[in-house]
Amino acid sequence: MEDSIGGSSSNDNNIIKEQDRLLPIANVGRLMKQILPQNAKISKEAKETMQECVSEFISFVTSEASEKCRKERRKTVNGDDICWALATLGFDDYAEPMRRKSRTKIQEASTNQNDLC
């Protein structure tokens, strides 16, 4: 879909792209607040900086996982691919807790399945 009308539409497109490109600033801000002392404040600039950084982090890790899938001729990126990408990129200490969480969730899912039967 192309829109060749003037600046206003262009601005609208930019706004949409901005929203799509980043995680919501309210959620990012809330997570930051949870780790800070009660009387601390966060500047708008800091929230936007964190938004930017987090999006890059997601793209970076996803790109590595995608390359692995491509080489193995698989179309679906799964949790193990993300963990592998984290380890490959040097985020080893993230990868291991993520693996444990993944296993826990799988076990929980299995338990739920059993309950349903």
Partner: protein, 141 residues
């Protein structure tokens, strides 16, 4: 997912959308893949913010700002992120100044700030990954 967990999480749809932007059109992402990334990003935010908070505390400041985030990234070993984010902040502040000047010149309060250009960190960092980041918080023994 209980309310506490929802409050702690970033929206999985947004995380998924950002992942899709970097993947080939034919690629798919499993639900588990999205959830792992969601958890990981939440951890990343807490990790970096905690470090920035320590710095503010030591300097008796109450407000965390963009420079504190940059410093925290560097301090935690995310040097390539810190450099790219530093460049981002520079452009951000330029854009803010231009906005102010433009508003003054034309006395038009409705001008929207153009968003700074997206970072190309993924490309830069891929070639330079050397220093693994230190341990994330909440790691069990």
């Amino acid at each position: 997912m209980d309310q506490d967990e929802q409050d702690r999480a970033l929206p999985i749809a947004n995380v998924s959308r950002i992942m899709k932007q970097i993947l080939p059109p034919s690629a798919k992402i499993s639900k588990e893949g999205k959830q792992v990334m969601q958890e990981c990003v939440t951890e990343f935010i807490s990790f970096v913010t905690g470090e920035a908070s320590d710095k503010c505390h030591k300097e008796n400041r109450k407000t965390v700002n963009g420079d504190d985030i940059c410093w925290a990234l560097s301090s935690l070993g995310f040097d390539n992120y810190a450099e790219a984010i530093g460049r981002y902040l520079h452009k951000y502040r330029q854009a803010e100044r231009e906005k102010i000047n433009h508003d003054k010149k034309y006395e038009n309060p409705h001008i929207n700030r153009a968003p700074p250009p997206p970072l190309l960190l993924s490309r830069v960092t891929r070639d330079k990954v050397e220093n693994p980041p230190p341990s994330p918080p909440n790691q069990s023994g």
